[in-house]
């Protein structure tokens, strides 16, 4: 008898899958992470690991009330404690120039509103807000000093309870200003079509607050190299956005602010905003005139660097009896802070995923006395997909249709929202491949029909989509006489393996073997890049790598052709035909046209050849609708008496254009599916509303999935290029890896038990 399917599961085959399953159709072969060795040996340096001379340590003391003002701060004992150099608060903090000059934060804000200003005044906006920094010669001394600080408050009535305050939800200011804003009310077709639909679903869905909780804690080492020159080793997702932010905040020329984030130990979105703890470290470094390191505690990760907002949704879905969608009304209310209006694309996919002639969406925010949320992997789409894909499953069940059949019935070959053709869409291919891999034929329409011993077995699926975003990026490429290629870009790598993918693109473009290519990143002084976020890195930086490599080829071609003789053939050669083999430049298919790079450089009296190329989105963006798609299937086993859930198998299929780096791409999908299991089954940050304070704020109480929760995850890619989206043909996949996973699991649980759980996470108590 199967006692617990999770305990008896076979050892994970994920590694094997990663090594074997990827069809290297033509272009890209599996490459180990170029920085893997550095990471596993500890040689990779993260933001908290720069031991600068004279380094001192800062520890933050947080507010213990949710709203009010600070009456007094007694820092005497802390100041007298051994090793303490400064106790900094709004009482004695130096003036931050950017705080004084603008009401709106000076840099281009990722979120509308007034970001929280560290040590600015005596207002308390939420429980867990940084109030004081204690700076000391060692971490332990700073921690001890922090324990001695006594803060008196004038409390005010706070509001943190979403459910109790939902009537106060409002239209975001940006939608009030601009009716075309993505969060403005949307209507397509007949506004009231739902009312008369033959078959209807009307349901509410709740997603609790989830916290990114990457393994690496948020860390910054701030160093004023001179009064007007600032260096930050900062755990962020964008070095140049951070550089811009702090240049403006400190009224410095951007070139005077250097931001280093060579390695980032996961972020999932919490590094897309600059937060008060960063300014706190910079203030502290200025005040003690030493480099200051500040690392948040795990508990502080819940209140200082954003989270996925608690979100209520309602879907009304109407269909004909034979399964054609008639209408979808989708409403969402997401929580935000009292001082910033965070919004996300919770409702976007409802507008474009299915061929419903009539669609209404309505997005609202609820301002509470909490910290500001920020995008968390698969941001709003993952939240929206839970509701939309659950509702699709509910409707399919009401219609007595197979959920895939129902989706195919409402498949759309062009974007009904933008009314543009897709650049590419291979979702049908995903359905087909996934169905077979999960064993969809074993699924029975009637819940509770399949058993394995005492356990109920269910199968479910969920679709995901995310914009194939692309921004401007530039890459510097440098070729030396030995045929080594060095490239640089300011982009970060928060874990997906950006360096690895870029090395592969460069190798593919030039023919230079991957071991002779280095891609340096994570430094604001390198050529232009935005944040690593929104699945846009390969699509943005990849084309710049390609452009830089091609520019090098052009330079070489010109240089070679100028010598005349047999080299004249190079003048008319196409750049695609120029290849590098063993330190030689060749024209493919022409054995006589070969030039040794070293000799060439010597003849021309140069050490190396360099170029910097920028790549930008093109006009195709206005002619086509560009999305990546994903399909997730789950098999779950549920114990009917105890409500235990075991996710037995997950199959993910990604339509993400060309797969540049098969191993790291698979890694992304497996990580996303794991995050989706957390969304579905375990993760929830709970506030005790009497205090407005989190009660589940460490890894013992906030449950991320552990290995025993994560089954065999099978990953497939369609691997067909989308060259309309960008020249490398990629559509991005970090986000689609998680979008659709939670509903796939929730739908599988329904199929197993007949219980439709619309509030995540689905813990055992909800299933008994």
């Amino acid at each position: 008898m199967l006692r617990n399917p999770c305990e008896s599961k076979e050892k994970s085959l994920n590694q094997q899958i990663m090594n074997e399953a990827f069809f290297d159709k033509k272009d890209y072969k599996s490459l180990d992470r170029v920085d893997g060795r550095l990471k596993v040996t500890g040689a990779a340096r993260y933001s908290a690991e720069y031991q600068l001379p004279g380094l001192v340590y800062a520890v933050l003391v947080e507010s213990k009330i949710a709203k009010g003002t600070i009456k007094s701060i007694d820092s005497r004992a802390a100041e007298r404690a051994p090793g303490v150099l400064a106790v900094i608060s709004h009482v004695n903090a130096i003036k931050v120039p950017g705080y004084q000059t603008s009401n709106q934060h000076p840099s281009e804000p990722p979120v509308n509103g007034q970001p929280l200003r560290a040590f600015y005044d005596n207002n308390v906006y939420y429980n867990g807000q940084p109030i004081v920094a204690v700076v000391a010669s060692t971490l332990e001394k700073a921690q001890f000093g922090a324990s001695l600080v006594k803060i008196q408050y004038e409390k005010e009535q706070h509001k943190t309870d979403f459910d109790a305050n939902m009537d106060n939800a409002v239209l975001p200011a940006q939608a009030k200003k601009n009716p075309k804003s993505p969060v403005a009310d949307y209507n397509r077709g007949d506004k009231n079509a739902f009312v008369n639909a033959p078959v209807k679903i009307d349901a509410e869905y709740v997603l609790p607050t989830e916290v990114h909780n990457p393994m690496e804690l948020q860390a910054i080492t701030a160093y004023w190299e001179a009064d007007d020159r600032l260096t930050l080793y900062d755990k962020v997702q964008g070095t140049q956005p951070t550089q811009q932010h702090f240049a403006k905040e400190w009224n410095l020329p951007p070139e005077n602010v250097k931001v280093i984030a060579t390695f980032v130990g996961g972020a999932f979105g919490n590094g897309l905003h600059n937060w008060p703890h960063e300014t706190a470290a910079i203030i502290a470094a200025k005040q003690v005139k030493k480099p200051v390191k500040l690392v948040l505690t795990r508990e502080q990760m819940f209140t200082m660097v954003g989270y996925r907002p608690y979100t209520w949704q309602k879907i009304q879905m109407g269909a004909t009896k034979d399964g054609k969608l008639v209408a979808i009304n989708h409403e969402s209310v997401g929580q935000t802070s009292s001082y910033e209006e965070f919004t996300e694309s919770t409702l976007q996919q409802t507008r474009m995923m299915y061929a419903s002639p009539n669609v209404n969406t309505r997005y609202r925010i609820l301002k509470l006395d909490v910290s500001t949320p920020i995008w968390m992997r698969g941001p709003g789409e993952a939240t929206g997909a839970f509701a939309l894909e659950s509702a699709m499953d509910e409707m399919a069940f009401s219609l007595g249709m197979d959920p895939i059949e129902f989706r195919l019935m409402n498949y759309t070959d062009s974007d009904p929202d933008k009314q543009l053709p897709w650049s590419t869409k291979y979702l049908k291919e995903c359905y087909d491949a996934g169905k077979e891999k999960i064993g969809w034929d074993k699924r029975k329409m009637q819940p509770g029909s399949v058993r394995s011993g005492e356990w109920l077995v269910g199968y479910g699926m969920g679709t995901g989509t995310f914009g194939a975003n692309r921004g401007a990026a530039a890459v510097r490429a440098q070729l030396d006489a030995d045929g080594n290629l060095l490239m640089q870009c300011a982009i970060t790598d928060i874990g997906p393996g950006t360096g690895t993918a870029m090395v592969q693109i460069a190798s593919n473009t030039t023919g230079i073997s991957t071991d002779k290519i280095i891609f340096q990143l994570g430094n604001s002084q390198f050529p232009k890049a935005g944040n690593q976020g929104g699945s846009s890195t390969v699509n943005s930086v990849g084309p710049a790598v390609q452009a830089a490599c091609n520019a090098l080829k052009e330079q070489l071609k010109t240089m070679i052709a100028s010598k005349g003789g047999s080299n004249a053939a190079f003048a008319s050669a196409k750049k695609e035909d120029i290849v590098f083999v063993n330190g030689q430049v060749q024209i493919a298919g022409n054995d006589s046209a070969k030039v040794d790079i070293r000799t060439l450089f010597k003849q021309n009296n140069i050490q190396k050849m360099e170029t910097t190329q920028e790549s930008r989105p093109d006009e195709n963006r206005n002619k086509y609708s560009m999305y990546a798609f994903s399909m997730h299937f789950a098999e779950v086993h549920v114990h009917p008496l105890t409500g235990q859930v075991c996710v037995k198998k997950v199959v993910c299929c990604g339509d993400a254009g060309t797969i540049i780096s098969p191993k790291t791409a698979a890694n992304q999908m497996i990580g996303g599916a794991t995050g989706g299991i957390g969304m579905a089954l375990t993760e929830s940050a709970v506030i005790d509303h009497r205090f407005g304070r989190y009660v589940t704020k460490d890894f013992a109480e906030y449950h991320v999935p552990v290995h025993a929760d994560v089954p065999h995850i099978e990953v497939f890619f369609v691997n067909k290029p989308d060259t309309l989206a960008d020249p490398v043909g990629s559509k991005g996949l970090g986000e689609i890896a998680i979008i659709g996973v939670a509903p796939a699991i929730a739908n599988a649980i329904f199929n197993a038990t007949g219980k439709r759980i619309r509030e995540l996470p689905i813990t055992p108590d909800k299933l008994i």
């Binding site: 008898m1 006692r3 999770c6 305990e7 213990k64 332990e140 921690q143 001890f144 324990s147 114990h639 008496l641 105890t642 409500g643 235990q644 075991c646 089954l681 375990t682 709970v686 005790d688 009497r690 205090f691 304070r693 009660v695 589940t696 460490d698 013992a700 109480e701 449950h703 999935p705 552990v706 290995h707 025993a708 929760d709 996470p761 813990t763 055992p764 108590d765 008994i768």
Partner: protein, 327 residues
């Protein structure tokens, strides 16, 4: 962390002497709980007396009982051939707890001395009578999903977090303690306390007493046993509900039975009345369901843990079923 003294000792007597000399001193073994509590300023001992060098790691048969030294590691006990053969319930319960890394550090004595994992106890910004008597119980009207349903008081509704102790109370273990006045034995069921008016006291160990060993009498529960732990993820989470079930079945009749629950009370919760209802009956789902209903008599739920009134008996039934039909 607040500064403290640290001394090492190598005999129980030296340890007891060392701890007796300072007002606010604590023994430290694996430190898997105490160090966390000190980092969060929840416990602030002035002195730590390290007992790891005391030779108390043995696991052996002595006459008609098995004696386990207080410093035996959780993993060592779980993997012991003797324990697996004669006390499989104990081995199962240990492997259900914590993580492999923690089980490699944590000792049997330390496991018994674990403090509750109540969210309010762990946050010094929240009220908690156990941490600071008189502050009030934050959980009573708060987020009490994980909290007790048996033996609560207005002062405290926290639960005891150990898995191992649930098996030990079922197996009629005895605690051996050395103190300033010599050695004494405490029945396991009387070791931990209910909160009453003094929730700050987790157990009945006297001041400066040191646990030196656990004694478990020989029993017939070598085959039909099961420790079933329901939790919010598959591993490395405290029990929402756990059940230790041990049956002695002959000819499909239950000759003897032991039943205890975790995640429901301030102490490991032995279900003696339910055991009586099992004895002499056929090992059937009907018998188990009846015992489970008896077991739940007197349970009282709070705002967020009412599901335990249903999950509790279901888990008892399932644990008994699993025990009756071992894999």
């Amino acid at each position: 962390m607040i500064q403290f003294q640290y001394v090492r000792t190598s005999t129980p007597k030296a340890a007891v002497d060392a701890v007796s000399k300072t007002q606010n001193a604590r023994f430290i073994a694996g430190g898997t709980n105490l160090v966390d509590l000190m980092k969060r300023n929840i416990m602030t001992p002035e002195k730590l007396v390290d007992i790891n060098n005391i030779p108390l790691k043995g696991i052996e048969q002595q006459g008609n009982k098995i004696v386990i030294g207080a410093l035996a590691l959780n993993s060592q006990v779980a993997d012991s051939k003797l324990v697996q053969e004669k006390l499989p319930l104990l081995s199962q319960s240990l492997n259900a707890g914590a993580s492999a890394q923690i089980r490699n550090m944590a000792t049997v004595g330390g496991n018994m001395m674990q403090r509750t994992r109540c969210n309010y106890f762990y946050d010094t910004a929240m009220p908690c009578n156990k941490r600071e008597p008189g502050l009030g119980c934050g959980a009573l009207e708060g987020f009490n999903r994980m909290h007790a349903i048996f033996g609560t008081s207005e002062k405290c509704i926290a639960v005891h977090p150990s898995d191992m102790c649930i098996a030990l109370v079922a197996l009629d273990a005895t605690v051996v303690a050395a103190g300033p006045k010599g050695e004494r034995r405490i029945p396991f069921a009387e070791f931990h306390r209910l909160p009453g008016d003094t929730p700050e006291k987790d157990n009945n160990l006297m001041e400066n007493e040191l646990i030196t060993a656990i004694e478990i009498p020989d029993n017939a529960f070598t085959r039909n046993v099961h420790y079933l732990k329901i939790r919010d993820r598959a591993s490395y989470a405290f029990a929402v509900i756990s059940v230790a079930a041990a049956l002695h079945i002959e000819n499909n009749t239950i000759k003897d039975a032991r039943l205890a629950m975790g995640g429901v009370s301030h102490k490991p919760w032995r279900l003696s009345e339910a055991e009586k209802a099992l004895i002499g009956k056929p090992a059937s789902e009907k018998t188990f369901r009846n015992a489970a209903e008896i077991a739940m008599q007197g349970a009282k739920a709070y705002k967020h843990n009412a599901f335990k009134l249903k999950l509790g008996p279901n888990t008892i039934v399932q644990a008994l079923k699993n025990a009756a039909e071992p894999v």
